[in-house]
């Protein structure tokens, strides 16, 4: 059964490729690099050079607040589509999608929290979540 499943690395690579195409199609800006890293039921995505030329011009021309508003608007507009893309690729529902970008560095960071860990051939590579809440005090 499990031999039909992708490895964690394959899943990360597939998602990275789809994310490159997604950002090119949606905002006309293909990041220069995408890093995906699973850890248990969480996924971190880091996009390099993710800021559009228009936002860069605004920031360079002293309109940083406006550039940030544009970025927030783009994030808001693409968030539902991004969530769907991740869910379709990984095959699990995303319960939280957290996203932020830095205009100065052009870097975007995304954290997706899933209902469960993804089904992969090498689940041991995902690690486990050891969580204690405040009642453990």
């Amino acid at each position: 059964m499990t031999e039909n499943l992708p490895t964690r690395g394959q899943l990360e690579r597939t998602l990275s490729q789809r994310l490159l195409a997604f950002y090119r199609q949606q905002i006309g800006q293909q990041p220069s690099k995408v890093t995906c890293q699973f850890f248990a039921e969480k996924l971190a995505i880091i996009l390099e050079d993710s800021i559009t030329p228009a936002e860069q011009v605004l920031a360079q021309e002293g309109k940083k607040d406006l550039a940030e508003q544009v970025r927030n608007g783009l994030d808001e507009a693409t968030r539902p589509l991004l969530k769907s893309l991740i869910e379709e690729t990984i095959g699990i529902e995303v319960v939280d999608l957290l996203s932020d970008a830095t205009l100065d560095t052009g870097r975007t960071g995304i954290i997706a929290i899933f209902e469960t860990s993804p089904a992969v051939r090498n689940p041991e590579s995902l690690g486990t979540t050891r969580s204690r809440d405040r009642s453990a005090r």
Partner: protein, 135 residues
């Protein structure tokens, strides 16, 4: 090839204590759990229970936009300080710090990018969670 490290227990405990103190000092609010994951030059933090009761109430009474505005201000206050705490405790320079909060779930996620890979002892696991009072 990417290499994953577990933050040592002492570092996560110390960092968690300092982050909790920060929330208590600035917002009189207690964070319920903090989860860490380190890979390459990147530290991921997941903080649970970061949204304050007033924000929760605003969200419940359909004032979500206002709750979001409040959260943006609070995050602008707290996040740079968390960045500084990471630099102090881990003895690294953070070149980028990205963070966001989901008001409904009360979860904050942050990504700290380091200038260099921190010099930490190798571990067999990949991540670490620190609960209150574990320091």
């Amino acid at each position: 090839m990417r290499r994953a490290n577990l933050l040592s227990e002492s570092i996560t405990s110390h960092l968690s204590t300092r982050i909790r103190e920060l929330y208590e000092h600035e917002l009189d609010h207690q964070v319920s759990a903090i989860n860490y994951h380190l890979f390459d030059q990147t530290l991921i933090l997941i903080l649970e229970g970061t949204v304050t009761p007033p924000e929760q109430l605003l969200t419940r009474i359909s004032q979500k936009d206002l709750a979001r505005q409040v959260r943006d201000v609070l995050d602008r206050l707290v996040q740079p300080q968390i960045r500084t705490l990471i630099e102090e405790v881990m003895n690294v320079e953070v070149v980028d710090f990205l963070s966001d909060t989901a008001i409904e779930s009360g979860r904050t996620g942050a990504i700290a990018i380091f200038e260099f890979r921190p010099n930490l002892p190798p571990q067999t696991d990949r991540q670490s969670t620190s609960a209150p009072g574990s320091a």
